[in-house]
Amino acid sequence: MNALRAQVRAELALLARNGEQLLLTLGIPVLLLAFFSKVDVLPTGTGKPVNFLAPGILALAVMSTAMVGLGIATGFERSYGVLKRLGATPLGRGRLVVAKVVTILVVELVQLVVLALVATALGWRPGGGWLVAVAPIVLGPSAFAGLGLVLAGRLPGTVNLAAANGLYLVLLLLGGMIVDLDKLPAPLRALAKALPSGALAEGLRGAFGTAHRVPGWAWVVLVLWAVAAPVVAAFTFRWE
């Protein structure tokens, strides 16, 4: 327990020291939420853009932390020999993974609080949707962390960096986070609905909507990605 606690503390300290990570996990989501809520240029289909944007940006924050942040950090840790070195300590891979998951959850809790406060200040009123939103918020990191580790587990550090950022952009645009899925051409919309970003954003939007209900397709897609991505990562991951 002492080792796990120390590892979580170390991961959080290193994260706080990494300015790029903080920009990715907090700066960009807050900026997007504030800017597009005030400047009504996106086809959100609502009179109050923040009502559309807040759930999408929460999904974006989950994706940023779990996929890009974790993936890039892990890829570089592999390049630096950190993972190999830790493999020869009693910490073990299991506790290392648990420490990373706990770190993600702590960071996401901070993100959710900050984003919810900013969105509320911008006029968002989620009502009782938080209880319904818990499951998608837990499934989302599993799917995105799996995707991040699939990339980090095979690609060299800098290639992984480029790939994670490229995938982030694609999932952002096709994820229903800042652009309504209904505004996309039909083939793209079908593709977007099969992606974890689309399922998470629509799931959260449903949870925070007036009916407080996650669409059935979003549950199916989220659960599939949340199971499949970590399994693929576990089979393909290289520790050195």
Partner: protein, 320 residues
Amino acid sequence: MAAVEVDELVVRYGDLVAVRGVTFQAEAGAVTALLGPNGAGKTSTVEVLEGYRPLAGGRVRVLGLDPSAEHGQLVRRMGVMLQRGGVYPTMRAGEAVALFCAYYDHVRRPDDLLDLVGLTERARSTWRQLSGGEQQRLSLALALAGNPAVAFLDEPTASVDVAGRQLVRQVIRRLADDGCCVLLTTHELDEAERVADHVVIVDHGEVVADGSPDELRRSGPAEVRFAAAAGLDVAALSAHLAGASVREASPGEYVVAGEGTPAVVAALTAWLADRDLAIGDLRAGRQRLEDVFLRLTAERSVAAVDDAAESGGRRGQRRR
């Protein structure tokens, strides 16, 4: 029972056989140096012992454990120092030592570890702010965090300055004196000669020599080495020394084959004095470890070339 037992170890990377039947033992309370040129199979051998790599044949035991199947038990008693890296670049030296100490049950005090490797003043510097030598010393401290019974140290003095090397040697010596089995891999022969109790030389994936540094030196021929002006008439000197073989090993460095008896040394210095030639370094006795190493690895290379030529010839004959 030896702390490390390697018996007919084979390691493969696809079709490439990197280690072919390596056998040796390393004892507790002693420093064993695994020597060899680049690509000799040292790292592959040690990675099997550390449990990182599967073996394709043979048997290894570390502290009586199978490093792969019983990795969880082994890591509690094993210290590892990688050749490079292994630490988060933005982590401070003091944080890294404290973190590694948190992994183990029976640990040293983090401050003591930093002091041991002379990094107390650098405790707040991040890994990437440390010099190459300081990084090596921090890696050594991390390898010692759990009071290991066996320590695998990969090139522990690479990039370390002269004062740092002295410190690293002292730490390694003290570790062995406290009962730890230290297995270090290096291609720096001088380092092995200074610190090792036992030397295993590997080349092309095979053990070519195994023994104490003194035993290995004694395995080579006796000789007299001296330094003088380049381009001496070695034939004339050889005749003066009753036909002893004399060669210029490198410009200005000469080797006389045979025992360095007082008579031979006297004849040599007299020959130089007659020609008013200054003598630099003069050493009589057995070969240095470096000479033994070069001789053994050169013999292997010649044998490999001969084998290749022979098999090429056979292929040619078959084609004909």
